[in-house]
């Protein structure tokens, strides 16, 4: 009953949307109101103002820098919210430990009170819920990980000339961390990219962004007006804007990468950070 009422309401709503679609400009109309008012200025002035051929990057980090700064702050806040919602610091030991003998693949089940082979090279601890072990997946992921990291850095640094930028590169870096955590296990991932590291970087990215803006104020410009940094970099004003965009994109990438890893750690282990997907 409720279902049909909802479908009826949605039909009316969709009908209204279709009705007002009559007033929208046609598909791909060059004279559409969205395309004639503000964006011609951005397209024509991007190279004289900022020296950046990719107009999306120049609008993202320069013309609309405030917008992107607070979006980064939103992402940072979401990471904090995930951490506060899920993270639990209880030190309760699990009842059963599972250890795999690496040479033979025999799995030992050690009850509470048994001797745990800590630090032994022959045994490795495995999760209680995720037992399968695949050498091919592990080795392949280890081989592709450096290339994924390099590609992510390329995406961040080359966002001026091609599609890409801080958000995409940061997400690829976070995805590389997630690949590492899935192909090995969560404990190995949190040993290498620790929770403390993720928390520090997520705050440091936003701080780098905001402090670049404040630095512009010290050089006599407005907040986030990178052109004022020209004496510092020793370039023209447009070149200084380009370099300022690069710094800001690096800050965004750091923040996004750390937040993605942190959210994945917390969701996959339910906030315990001991055993994950």
């Amino acid at each position: 009953m409720k279902k049909f009422a909802v479908i009826l309401g949605l039909m009316i709503w969709g009908g209204l949307l279709i009705y007002i679609a009559d007033d929208f400009p046609g598909w791909g109309d060059p004279q559409a109101p969205a395309s004639v008012n503000l964006s011609p200025y951005y397209i024509e002035q991007s190279i004289p103002d900022t020296d950046v051929p990719n107009v999306v990057t120049s609008i993202l980090a320069d013309y609309r820098g405030f917008d992107t700064m607070f979006e980064t702050a939103v992402i940072f806040t979401a990471g904090l919210a995930c951490l506060f919602l899920l993270r639990s610091y209880s030190t309760k030991e699990p009842d059963v430990y599972l250890y795999r003998h690496t040479a033979t693949g025999v799995i030992l089940r050690i009850e509470k009170g048994g001797t745990i082979p800590v630090g032994s090279a022959d045994f490795e601890r495995i999760d209680a819920t995720w037992v399968p072990h695949d050498l091919i997946i592990k080795t392949t992921c280890r081989l592709i990980l450096p290339f994924v990291f390099i590609f992510a850095l390329y995406v961040i640094a080359h966002g001026h000339h091609s599609p890409g930028g801080g958000f995409q590169g940061g997400v690829i870096l976070g995805a590389a961390t997630i690949i590492f955590a899935i192909s090995y296990n969560l404990r190995t991932a949190t040993r290498n990219i620790t929770e403390r590291f993720a928390a520090f970087f997520s705050a440091a990215g936003v701080l780098l962004y905001a402090s670049t803006g404040v630095l512009c104020m010290f050089f006599g410009g407005n907040f986030l007006d990178y052109g004022a940094l020209a004496p510092l970099f020793g370039t023209t004003i447009a070149g200084a804007r380009s370099l300022g965009i690069l710094i800001v994109e690096i800050g965004v990438g750091m923040s996004v990468m750390a937040v993605m890893s942190s959210i994945y750690y917390n969701i996959s282990s339910n906030g315990r950070l001991n055993e994950g997907l």
Binding site: W27, N54, P163, G164, F167, A175, M260, I267, G276, L277
Partner: protein, 81 residues
């Protein structure tokens, strides 16, 4: 901006979206959502919004799907609707 390709991709997007919300297995639903995101990414790439398509490919199809799978791994996989 070739309209037959656009219409084919849009119909794929709608089919993937409807399938994602109507499947009873939540893990399949998450994977179908990944397929939906990839189709959407293709649609935006055809429209010329390459940056948006890149972001959707990394964020929507990559990380969102992983988050869904991780959350389903920690909760229940079956559902009634």
């Amino acid at each position: 901006m070739i309209w037959p390709i656009d219409i084919i991709i849009i119909s794929f997007v709608v089919i993937c979206g409807i399938a994602a919300i109507s499947v009873k297995d939540l893990l399949s639903s998450a994977i179908l959502f990944g397929a939906y995101s990839f189709m959407m990414c293709l649609l935006w790439a055809v429209m010329g919004a390459v940056d948006v398509a890149f972001t959707e490919a990394t964020v929507g199809a990559g990380v969102s799907t992983v988050f869904f799978v991780a959350a389903i791994f920690r909760t229940s996989r079956r559902t009634r609707d």
